[in-house]
Assembly symmetry: C2
Homo-oligomer: 268 residues x 2
């Protein structure tokens, strides 16, 4: 089987000093530098491939400290604390001797317990009933995802007419790829900036920090395979240069796989 | 003016090696060890008192890596990256040579922009119309907060009758204390575990990771003074040993000051 561009994008080579060497990916290029979701997945992957890894990801927080330049980078992942069933990671991504990303992650072995999804999937048409978007942003990484916007797609006209930041969409990798923790981390960052949707106005933006909570375990992701995810995102507050985004990703069968949040810089 | 117990609790003494020495606080004791909200505030305070600090807190993520023992601790706060208007911090709390907490924070200088609260404050009776709770948990830290539960208070009978994890409440420091970033970080952790509310069943729990987004700036906090905050919390998913919590804190006048999330371990 031919390797998927996402697998190539997150590939890390072990270095003698225990760090990992990676490289930004042209297929996942953003306007300037790489798509942040893939940068987050690269940071998480330094934990996933680590020989000391215990369990599976529970939470991931990535802080985008500086623009990542196209080219190579180093990732350091350190298990700051390993308990019986949980592990705490500190991660840094370095380019040219400077920190460009800081992150923490928690991994854990899970056991079966009473479980319940309180936030149920919104009623939505099935993916094959939702057309592809009329407007497509020009960035290369957009082509790596099949996104079918249900509500709150990218404005067709930037006329400051927005009235809600809510977006709902179907999404999966393009071409399809079996879902795993790394691809989920990237898809958590798939949503256009809420300020675009709320204002129908284009202003400079950049995600500052993103947190991903993984509710699914590996077995559930394997069962999901290449199916679509229903994504929902909205902002709660826009205030003096920073807004937040709160999002969910459900499987087609309605299981809540991820809840994720971010805080984003905006100008004007 | 007599010092407030919270100010004593978060006090850090600079050490020669650039780290900070703190001590857990008996007035904020939990069942075992300290109230996690104060531990989070101590971690943030290592940034707030740091001579290199740029701007004000935008986001904070704390990971509770191990039980904090009653007694002294050391906090290390390192500015991993300082940009023109943003700064990225990595924080570790150490006890007996072991990491007990990892954290990251982003601080920034803000400028006035178009602003909007999309998540509006739920209609609620005013604080003086909401009685104090009939049931009070026995932990010492509970006495440091004046909490007036509107909906979703601690169950009066643990009869597995719960049907929603939603809580709404008024809260402020007890005795009242002017709101600041450190106290906001602590209050972000004020809510009882969602699994208690949803199930009306008592199971062992522990917060694993908490993220706080600060939408307010220092001036807004000063204006808020000792007023009440309206807090709202609910869970989105409970799955195989971990559930999430998504929360908001509004000022009495309806400004969204904080949005915050956490993921919590639970047994059974």
């Amino acid at each position: 089987m031919k390797s998927h561009p996402f697998d190539k994008a997150i590939k890390l080579a072990p270095q003698e000093d225990g760090t990992w060497l990676g490289h930004t990916s042209a297929p996942y290029a953003n306007m300037v530098g790489p798509f942040g979701g893939v940068t987050a997945a690269q940071a998480l992957n330094a934990v996933l491939v680590h020989p000391q890894l215990l369990g599976e990801p529970i939470s991931l927080t990535v802080n985008f400290a500086a623009a990542v330049a196209n080219g190579p980078f180093t990732v350091q992942a350190r298990a700051a604390r390993t308990n019986r069933s949980t592990q705490h990671w500190i991660i840094e991504m370095i380019q040219a001797g400077q920190t460009v990303l800081t992150a923490t992650a928690v991994t854990a072995t899970r056991r079966e317990t009473w479980s319940l999804d309180e936030e149920t999937m919104p009623a939505s048409p099935m993916p094959d009933q939702v057309p592809l978007p009329k407007v497509e942003a020009p960035m290369e990484w957009i082509k790596r995802y099949e996104v079918r916007p249900i509500v709150g797609g990218l404005p067709e006209v930037w006329d400051a007419s927005g009235h809600s930041s809510l977006s709902q969409l179907w999404v999966r990798d393009n071409p399809p790829r079996p879902l795993d923790f790394a691809s989920l981390a990237a898809i958590a960052d798939i949503f256009f900036p809420r300020v675009f949707i709320r204002r129908s106005t284009h202003v400079p933006v950049g995600t500052v920090s993103m947190t991903v909570y993984f509710h699914a375990n590996g077995q559930q992701l394997t069962e999901h395979g290449t199916g679509y995810l229903l994504g929902q995102a909205r902002a709660q507050a826009f205030r003096n240069g920073f807004f937040d985004q709160t999002s969910q990703l459900w499987s087609e069968s309605g299981a809540l796989l991820v809840t994720t949040h971010q805080v984003v810089y905006y100008k004007e």
